[in-house]
Symmetry: C2
């Protein structure tokens, strides 16, 4: 049976550090504050928002929700973000994505001040990740995966790490973070041939296809370390990762569960970036 790489202990450690940083900031009358920009009332957004607010409360970050109509004009959204950029009481800005179709994300992500861009949407922050400069803001999901690898002391230097995802929110930034740790990185995707062979040769496999239970026992062996970033609903409407956990967890070396793995670290990464933004002001 694999060692289960739970996320809650990782999140807890990040939060403990964060609390100390926040206490220090409060001594200087600075309160880390997150502005949440939500358009419309999609239930998924509202549930995510509640979880963020609760997490903010837990650690002592102030959160302010800016709810706007889903039909907001691009100019109005830009105006709101520019106000938040200027507002010295706001440390970080989180704009819920995906945006409604009539709003061009390309415009919006360029409007957010790079200094308050805690969700790492701005091209200048993403370019720093491309360069291997990990001192600024990073996309939360790949950073959460890295924190799990670090917490559980999983060696990366010179190791073969396979990332099955090439998006800008997971695969590409994660590949850059892994390179920074001197891993040899293979980026796979839907067009990859012989994926089973490739994942079987890897020391660490990060799966993020978003296809419930896609990866079964064929893809792994007793040495595999599996980081499962996928979150989707299986045939019974149950939350499931990309790995078929029931089949895979008995045979691999280590695996993150879903739920309770990478996803449970993501919010604490977001919050730690609000604290970082507050420190940097």
């Amino acid at each position: 049976m694999a060692e289960i790489l739970k996320g809650n202990v990782v999140a807890k450690q990040i939060k403990e550090k964060m609390k100390r940083d926040i206490e220090e900031l409060k001594k200087h009358d600075r309160i880390p504050t997150l502005a949440i920009v939500r358009l419309g009332d999609n239930p998924g957004d509202i549930s995510y928002e509640k979880s963020i607010i609760k997490n903010c409360d837990d650690v002592g970050i102030k959160s302010v929700v800016y709810e706007r109509d889903v039909n907001i004009k691009t100019e109005e959204l830009i105006e709101l973000i520019e106000e938040l950029n200027k507002d010295n009481n706001i440390s970080g800005i989180l704009v819920f994505r995906p945006l409604p179709k009539h709003i061009d994300e390309e415009i919006i992500r360029n409007v957010i001040s790079p200094e308050k861009d805690v969700d790492c949407m701005h091209p200048l922050n993403l370019e720093r990740i491309f360069e291997g400069d990990m001192d600024g803001f990073a996309p939360c999901t790949p950073k959460a995966a890295m924190e799990i690898l670090k917490y559980y002391d999983i060696p990366l230097e010179g190791k073969n790490v396979v990332v099955v995802n090439r998006s800008m929110v997971v695969g590409k930034p994660l590949a850059m973070m892994l390179l920074k740790e001197n891993a040899t990185v293979t980026i796979c995707h839907s067009r990859t041939q012989n994926l089973e062979q490739i994942t079987n040769r890897a020391d660490v496999v990060v799966v993020a296809l978003g296809k419930a239970k896609f990866f079964d026992e064929k893809y792994f062996n007793e040495n595999s370390i599996v980081i499962d970033v996928g979150v989707s609903l299986d045939e019974n409407g149950k939350l499931s990762g990309d790995a078929d956990y029931g089949i895979v967890s008995p045979i691999v070396s280590k695996i993150t569960p879903v739920p309770g793995g990478v996803g449970s670290v993501t919010t604490s990464i977001l919050l730690s970036q609000v604290v970082l933004a507050c420190k940097n002001i």
Copy 2:
């Protein structure tokens, strides 16, 4: 004996297309013009400059050299670049690198107008490459490697491509270009373990360590397609690629020579980006 993937025919094709574009631009009284900013008189820079000017002349691009003292102050260099940014007669700006040590490249690359940044130094242009948007300016060397692969009809979709380099001028942008073509990409570097095994499993190997003759027969097999980006001097002071050409070329499937391979395409990529800049004004 391997098929030799010569660069000259690739460069020629790019130049032919460029000439037609330039004729079209000239009909509208627009002359693509490259500003070359050179600090000091390093012989390597001067020789590269001569080659660029000759190539510009060949295709009908105007080139203007801005030679400044190697001890130029950062503020003076910024002022020069800002003038070139504003000058409507200048389509593209090339600043020779590396810059003298007292000048911070990070500052300079942010000063160049992204619209005139034909050498792809500006973070916003590099971020587009990270995103997989290949319609703008690209670093010339990886783009040259891609043009060679394209010219010789080497399939990339679903293929395993290994890149031995993780720099911002070669490896990382090349990995993004290869992903865009749906290759499965592995990025290797000095800390990679079992490099021989990894290169032997690849369909295409791009080597760019800058170590003359580093890659011998152990790294390749009869199916290997080798793109050699390395340029350095061997033990006899002769220009050499990363691959030990005499040993490797008889056993692999295809290989680019050094000199005469990737390097002979690079300048035509630069010039095509000057034409692109002129078109976009």
